[in-house]
């Protein structure tokens, strides 16, 4: 696995940050200057690493698109963590990639003489050779594969906030068909004022915590008022058990199954809100596909964006699992620490899900001292951990819900040698 998140870069640092409840949310002076209502956000601290230590020289020095940088960093880390080396000479036709992105063209790298953007200034020649490859939605996968050189399917999905979990599900389904031995799956989103301004204009961001940034993202709280935007990327190498065992690879866990669906923007579903029936259907079918019963779930890694939608999400979980009150599983989300990484969220959060499964712990949710009353009417407050707890975690269900009324749920299980 590999990860680039607002509170840590690299899997080991991320695990430590999750356990400590480290927030990566900061106040951004530049957002104040351009009159955004939400002036807080999370961005991975690239100044804490030397890009040239992780990436080929050209990419380290010339790529400025944050979404692509995060994808290359998380992807290379995941590949090496899986005990694999980039293919230097020949392509590897048994390895593929599904790596999604949100909006690479909205990234902060469009900064160049903005607002006198070269095109409108009649200087489009100044765009150079990388504008297309850095803006195209497959750009993250394309640049990552310029390093890895995999030769099976290389695909880029884009499905808003479910992009990361969907990429992993697609990789799992592809491997299940026997079409490859391994797939590196993940997603990415850049950050900065351009993409964040567009969310700010929708009035969906947290605008009442500018003077207390680390308190801004507070999923499940009675005062959740909007999500805190961020960027990041997660990457996971999926491999057939046969292939992983044959080469003695480190196995973090197993994907048991999953499902992706849409509420059709009907029955309460809209461009931005989830159709509750579809959410319940997605979770139910994910469990069916995994062949598990709801009482086997130890931990829910929710979507939980710190908006007014959180109580509705909890209601959907309760309905889908048929578990409530004290019988409800533990539930958390890294979003209280890292904000909402949009298309990067699913993969960054899946890395957290797998770490908790692999290392038997449950990370805290920050800023939820006052749980939303509608949530407390459904589940016991103790199901929402506020400190890091040791817990045997055998089965995790992870879900994301995204714009366009899209849902994705995955079931993961601890790997036991057999």
């Amino acid at each position: 696995m590999g990860v680039v998140a607002a509170n840590a870069i690299g899997v080991d640092n991320y695990e430590k940050a999750l356990r400590e409840g480290k927030s990566g949310i900061k106040h951004w002076e530049e957002l104040d200057k351009i009159n955004l209502k939400c002036q807080i956000g999370g961005a991975p601290d690239l100044s804490s690493i030397t890009l040239g230590d992780h990436l080929p020289r050209l990419l380290a020095e010339k790529i400025t698109n944050k979404g692509i940088l995060y994808a290359m960093l998380s992807g290379v880390e995941a590949w090496k963590d899986a005990g694999l080396e980039p293919n230097t000479e020949t392509r590897d036709f048994n390895s593929g990639m599904i790596f999604g992105a949100g909006d690479l063209s909205f990234d902060s790298f469009i900064n160049r003489p903005f607002p006198s953007y070269p095109i409108d200034n009649g200087e489009s020649r100044k765009l150079g050779s990388r504008t297309i490859s850095e803006c195209m939605n497959s750009g993250a996968a394309a640049y990552l594969n310029s390093i890895l050189g995999v030769g099976n399917r290389v695909q880029s999905n884009s499905s808003a906030c479910i992009t990361g979990s969907e990429a992993v599900l697609m990789g799992y389904e592809y491997l299940s068909q026997g079409r490859a031995d391994r797939m590196i799956c993940g997603s990415t989103e850049g950050d900065g004022r351009y993409i964040w301004a567009a969310f700010d204009a929708m009035r969906v961001l947290c605008s009442n915590s500018n003077d207390n940034p680390e308190f801004g993202s507070r999923p499940m709280s009675d005062s959740s008022s909007g999500f805190v935007p961020s960027g990041g990327s997660g990457a996971l190498v999926l491999e057939t058990l046969e292939s992983a065992k044959a080469r003695g690879a480190k196995i973090y866990g197993e994907v048991l199954g999953g499902h992706v669906n849409s509420g059709g923007q009907r029955s309460g579903g809209t461009m931005t809100a989830a159709n509750p029936e579809a959410v319940v259907d997605c979770i139910t079918r994910a469990m069916d596909s995994a062949g598990i019963k709801p009482d086997e779930i130890d931990l829910i890694n929710g979507h939980l964006t710190s908006t007014k939608g959180d109580p509705a999400e909890i209601r959907n979980w309760v309905k889908a699992l048929g578990r409530s009150g004290k019988d409800f599983p533990m539930i958390n989300t890294p979003k209280s620490m890292i904000g909402h990484a949009v298309a990067g969220a699913g993969s960054v959060e899946l890395v957290a899900s797998v770490l908790q499964l692999y290392k038997d712990f449950v990370h805290p949710n920050l800023n939820v001292e006052n749980i939303h009353p509608e949530i407390l009417s459904e589940i016991f407050g103790g199901c929402i951990p506020t400190s890091c707890q040791s817990l045997e975690v055998n089965t995790v269900i992870k879900a994301n819900f995204g714009f366009g009324d899209l849902n994705c749920a995955l079931v993961l299980r601890k790997y036991k040698e057999r």
């Binding site: 080929p56 020289r57 050209l58 010339k62 020649r125 150079g128």
Partner: protein, 82 residues
């Protein structure tokens, strides 16, 4: 501006575009940017833009076609800044 100064600046511009297996000290005046230094042809336009910024000159597309070797490129810069 001396030829040596231009050459040093040019090498600094070219450096990031060199493949990992080609070292900076291999960049001599006689080397062809694409055939010898193995620079991806798509990146020639980026190198030209970097040169334009560095020397505050404008290089027309037909001149780009003449910038085959390091020597050619130095000549173009010297000519434009003369």
């Amino acid at each position: 501006m001396t030829r040596e100064t231009v050459k040093t600046d040019l090498i600094n511009i070219i450096k990031p575009y060199l493949p990992e297996n080609i070292m900076e000290n291999e960049v001599s005046e006689d080397k062809h940017l694409i055939n010898d230094l193995m620079i991806n042809s798509a990146h020639i336009v980026d190198i030209v833009l970097d040169i334009e910024d560095k020397f505050d000159i404008m290089i027309d597309d037909d001149v780009i076609g003449e910038m085959n070797t390091v020597q050619d490129s130095i000549d173009v810069v010297l000519q434009k800044t003369a």
